[in-house]
């Protein structure tokens, strides 16, 4: 784990990168990092996130600034700009059920070749997907998702990068921390090693490459 300032951290991300971004409608999103993506005009991004939040919040700001070419998300309903750019064919939108999305990311991070989920079987999202019948019930094969970068948000970190999240700001963050080549965690405070009990740690520091402090 290395401490970086936000400018250095975002400079690592090239245009066109695949980036996972934690948060649920902006709650638990790495806002300092997102603002810097916008400042540095990192563009042509493929964003993997739960949703596109609101036009002025979280991932939503990246959309409004037209920096994404594709999003893989479960929901875009709270950000009219996403649907607008989709209709204009500026932005490609891949919709994935929320529980499937998080399992795909987990599979990518934890070395599974895929998972079988009952969610979506028989609906339009099953088109072209492999269906397998297990003990009389149909499941859909869903493949792993990985990213070049994950930018996530935690409440606290120690100097080893062990992370603790807060309440519903946890959501996708711990799962995304496992599934990207480079993981940048934004945290509100950085504590001395040994001040977070091993049983309290939500994400072990080995998953975290860089820490950035929230502004």
């Amino acid at each position: 784990m290395r401490l970086l300032n936000v400018e250095e951290a975002i400079k690592m991300i090239p245009d066109g990168a695949i980036v996972m971004i934690g948060g649920f409608l902006g709650v638990g999103s790495p806002n300092t990092l997102i603002d810097e993506i916008i400042k540095q005009k990192r563009s042509n991004l493929t964003i993997i996130a739960n949703d596109t939040a609101f036009p002025d919040k979280g991932v939503g700001k990246i959309i409004v600034n037209k920096l994404a070419k594709k999003v893989i998300v479960s929901h875009i309903g709270t950000n009219p700009e996403t649907q607008k750019q989709m209709i204009e064919r500026f932005l490609e939108v891949e919709l994935v059920p929320q529980g499937t999305l998080v399992e795909k990311i987990r599979a990518g991070g934890l070395g599974l070749g895929g998972i079988l989920t009952p969610t979506g079987v028989g609906t339009i999202i099953a088109e072209g997907k492999q269906i397998m019948n297990i003990e009389g019930k149909d499941y859909m094969l869903e493949l792993p998702l990985k990213a070049d970068f994950a930018i996530i948000k935690a409440k606290r970190s120690d100097c080893n990068g062990n992370l603790v999240y807060s309440l519903t700001a946890r959501n996708f963050n711990p799962i995304m921390a496992t599934a990207a080549s480079t993981v940048i965690a934004e945290v509100e405070e950085i504590l001395p090693v040994g001040t977070i009990s091993p049983d309290e740690v939500h994400t072990p520091g080995i998953f975290i490459d860089y820490i950035v402090k929230s502004r």
């Binding site: 709650v27 309903g77 929320q98 969610t119 979506g120 309440l167 799962i175």
Partner: protein, 217 residues
Amino acid sequence: MMDPKFIIAKRVAKELKNGQLVNLGIGIPTLVVDYIPKDIKVLFQSENGIIGMSPLPEEGLEHPDLTNAGANYVGAIPGAACFDSALSFGIIRGGHLDLTVLGGLQVDEEGHLANWMVPGKMIPGMGGAMDLVTGAKRVIVAMTHTTKGEPKIVKRCTLPLTSIRRVDLIVTEMAVIEPSKEGLILKEISPEVTLEDVLKSTEASLIISKDLKVMEV
């Protein structure tokens, strides 16, 4: 007449049973919390990662890290537990959620729900709805009976389905309907409307229950 959404929420609240783990969708389902009978204690799960969600105790106590699945500030009861999205949807998909109440765009004669997109018009996405309908032990659809005069209870959904799982109950401001293998069973009618009104506002065929009741709200 009371606003339809409050009638629906009030009637749905009667379906909650003591000790249940319940997930309420956005919109009308969220209102259910205000009508839960005093002798019933349930736990609320929210798919963004909490069991033990409660309404915000008072203004000024908002916490930026504590919201419901609609990003509204909420509170938490003593004994609440938080978790990541993988466990949250594991709870839902794994059959550990007793009840979900969701809004709907259409429900058809097979009890199939459509509630996540109107092709070419409005594509909010399924969010957690597909997992909820597929995984919850019991699914109640809480929606107005019609929209702009058009029936929402139809022969066959024209909108993309949320799941091929048959929902367990439909509650509207006019009626309570139970989907079954045989079709949609009309169980209760609002005291404000006639059977004819209900049939006229419903595209799907309804099987009228031998035990048809007046909807208590």
